[in-house]
């Protein structure tokens, strides 16, 4: 008896997906089991998993010559996601599964026949939906993720359950697509932070226009707390943004099985010992780093000067381009990385420079060296730089009501709506021609900016960044034109 079967799976390289036709031929000859079509070692190991899973699910593993082809054959296939498709194709080719089917099969097999979850189910299921494949068989843990892609998602706990579903003995119902997530409860509210009016204002501007912010101040003055309040004033994720951010989290294997779609903008806070790979991504195959996990949200770098300067400099490209391409021998991946940088640092090595109560013990050269750890090109990409001073005791005791995050968030949302009307999500994305069109300055503002460029030697990039911040300040004020005062505030908040 010989047979042939074809089952659809999906390969993943970075964010790139491609439908893979898993073809199995079972023919007479010496018993053997080969996989062709450029499998990597994880795919080749599928032979052992598939053999045991078929046997332990009560089926017979055909003692014949089995050839598996993963087509198209010219690209290397990675990972364990082909196990389920290979097993089902063997069962079909050997006649143990009676019907042909066109469903997408995504799952790793355990030796006892259980189906295990995969990374990156969301982009793979989306790909199948785009190609018109109506249903996907996935592990129970991946069901919500596959359903979020828009197609039917069948949660199969075991290989046996998958076969029973396909031949119609026990039909499984598709998983329900995940419902809208509840409004998150914020850890820190701006209203709980005493004083610090300028830093709060800068945070609001950063949230509205997606501008990069650095906070400088002595230890213990609330820089970290302020940064943690940022998520509470960020505008809600739009649907396409939520999908884009969730796809990256899916590929990184960081999806909550119950809530596969992100409900709030990501806020990533890697420790300052983070390596280049951790920050911008890497490895073989290349995985997304913190900059990509922060896509559509914020990347918070506490103790900025403690990060290795080489690591910080790798941020320059993603900050400018909004994405990062990681090239490795034979493979490369491009991940989105449009994030708002929020950083905090001490003013000097001892941390007390400028503190009225604790004298600084650093020499001027030490302070210079400390500040030189942040390279000029990186600082040039920082739009807002504020000082976070120590708050006097009398103010700390002051119990008067302060503005809550919800109020600030409404202003941010209103400003975002103005930006949306101009065709961009946030002012940080405005291109120079758009800036010229939307940032018409009054005569006196023009003079001010001209002098700023001349006297303070603003680079062309800094000039455009200042204009974008001024545009955001005007948007927050509900103003159509950029007034001199908006521009002055932007210049003042610039590094």
């Amino acid at each position: 008896m010989s047979g042939f079967a074809r089952v659809t799976a999906c390969a993943l390289w970075g964010l790139e997906t491609e439908l893979i036709s898993v073809e199995v031929d079972v023919s007479s000859g010496l018993p053997g089991f080969d996989i062709v079509g450029l499998p990597d070692s994880a795919v080749r190991e599928a032979r052992e998993r598939v053999r045991a899973a078929i046997r332990n699910s009560g089926f017979e593993f055909p003692l014949r010559r089995i050839t598996v082809n993963l087509a198209p054959g010219e690209r290397r296939k990675e990972g364990t996601g082909f196990d389920l498709a290979i097993a089902l194709a063997i069962l079909r080719a050997s006649g143990q599964l009676a019907v042909d089917f066109g469903d997408l099969c995504l799952g790793e097999l355990a030796l006892d026949g259980a189906v295990r979850p995969l990374r990156g189910v969301l982009p793979r299921a989306s790909r199948a939906v785009c190609a018109g494949i109506p249903a996907a068989l996935v592990a129970t843990e991946n069901a919500a993720e596959a359903a979020a892609a828009g197609g039917e998602a069948i949660a199969v706990g075991t290989l046996r359950a998958a076969v029973a579903h396909l031949d119609g003995t026990v039909r499984l119902l598709p998983a329900a697509p995940p419902g809208p997530s509840a409004e998150a409860a914020w850890e820190v509210d701006l209203g709980d932070i005493v004083g610090q009016e300028t830093p709060k204002r800068a945070l609001e501007i950063a949230a509205a226009g997606a501008h990069n912010l650095v906070m400088v101040g002595p230890p213990g003055t609330g820089k970290t707390l302020l940064a943690q309040a940022l998520p509470s004033i960020l505008a809600p994720l739009e649907a396409d943004e939520a999908m884009a951010a969730s796809v990256v989290h899916s590929v990184a294997g960081l999806v909550d099985p119950a809530r596969p779609l992100l409900a709030t903008r990501p806020f990533r806070a890697p420790h300052h010992t983070a390596s280049r790979l951790a920050l911008v991504g890497g490895g073989t195959p290349p995985r997304p780093g913190e900059v990509s996990l922060a896509h559509t949200g914020a990347l918070f770098l506490d103790e900025l000067a403690q990060f290795s300067p080489q690591v910080l400099d790798t941020l320059r490209e993603p900050m400018q381009e909004g994405r990062i391409t990681i090239a490795r021998a034979g493979t490369s991946a491009t991940y989105p990385a449009r994030f708002t940088l929020i950083a905090a640092m001490n003013p000097c090595p001892c941390g007390n420079l400028g503190d009225l109560m604790a004298p600084c013990t650093c020499l001027p050269d030490q302070v210079d060296r400390y500040n030189a750890r942040i390279s000029g090109p990186l600082l040039d990409r920082v739009d807002l730089r504020v000082h976070v001073p120590r708050v006097p005791y009398v103010e700390l005791r002051d119990g008067t009501a302060r503005e809550r995050s919800a109020v600030v968030r409404q202003r941010v949302i209103a400003a975002r709506a103005r930006m949306r009307a101009r065709g961009r999500r946030a002012n940080a994305e405005l291109t120079p021609p758009e800036l010229r069109r939307h940032c018409s300055l009054g005569a006196s503002a023009e003079v001010l900016l001209g002098r700023a460029v001349h006297d303070r030697r603003l680079s062309a990039r800094a000039y455009h960044r200042t204009l974008r911040v001024a545009r955001t300040i005007a948007d927050l004020a509900g103003s159509d034109g950029v007034q001199r005062d908006h521009l002055a505030s932007a210049l003042l908040l610039r590094a």
Partner: protein
């Protein structure tokens, strides 16, 4: 780099007041500055923005009056004085505590040294390759004191090398002034004590040195910044006004984001 012996007519006569005048002197730049009238501005390396401002103001007054600013090109007050004098197109002399070739600072002092070679004068009583050692600075300080007609101590904590310069200046009969600082400010403790014990006269302004004062600018914002730098919140002026002052170079933003007078 050149050598200056006592027999040379360009050797500054004021140095002969010292018990052991340096012999020889190595120099780079404009050697004639050594014999001109000079005022020494010395102080701590760990200066505060207050010391920075006062050192600059005195150096600018010297530059406008054509008086040479003498100092030691250390970090802090010394560098502030040299830089302000050069910025105001004045003359300035740096007396190093190590050999001229051994002096190899980084960053802003390297740039400052290059400007001094170009438009001022660098002097050392040590052989060019002699590296800095602790005992050498006291002799250097005496040279600074002797080169000037008056010594101004701007911010010196207890035990500061600037106090050695003051003592050396008294020994050779130079006028010694100290800039009074805020009580409780460690950076001014030594200078205040110098005034209290009669070791120096309190400096009330550049007029006391026989220089014309830089006319004070009547400005509410600048006056609020006179005591020290403030954050934008604490200053409470409009952004427009602050940017105006920044552009005019009247105030500057410190590395920590606060605003200070220049």
């Amino acid at each position: 780099m050149s050598v200056l012996h006592r027999s040379d007519p360009r050797y500054p006569p004021r140095l002969l007041d010292l018990a052991a005048p340096p012999e020889p002197l190595w120099w780079e730049g404009d050697v004639t500055l050594l014999s001109r009238e000079g005022i020494a501005i010395v102080g701590t390396r760990r200066m505060t923005p207050y010391g920075d401002r006062v050192a600059r103001e005195i150096a600018i007054a010297c530059a406008l009056a054509g008086v040479v600013v003498v100092s030691g090109l250390a970090q802090g007050i010394d560098s502030a004085a040299h830089a302000a004098a050069l910025d105001a197109r004045g003359d300035t002399v740096a007396v190093l505590g190590e050999g001229l070739a051994a002096f190899d600072p980084h960053g802003r002092r390297r740039r400052l040294a290059a400007r001094l070679r170009d438009r001022g004068c660098l002097v050392s009583q040590y052989e060019p390759l002699f590296p800095a050692q602790g005992w050498m600075f006291a002799k250097r300080n005496a040279t600074i004191a002797a080169l000037a007609r008056a010594v101004v101590v701007v911010e010196a904590p207890h035990g500061s090398g600037a106090l050695i310069t003051a003592a050396a200046a008294r020994a050779v009969g130079r006028d010694v002034y100290a800039v009074p600082g805020p009580l409780g400010s460690a950076a001014s403790a030594g200078a205040n004590e110098l005034i209290a014990t009669g070791g120096a006269r309190a400096l009330t302004g550049p007029e006391a040195l026989g220089l014309h004062a830089v006319p004070p600018v009547r400005d509410e914002v600048l006056e609020r910044l006179a005591a020290g730098p403030l954050s934008i919140d604490a200053l409470g002026a409009s952004s427009d006004r602050i940017v105006e002052l920044l552009m005019a170079g009247r105030i500057t933003r410190l590395a920590d984001g606060r605003l200070a007078r220049r």
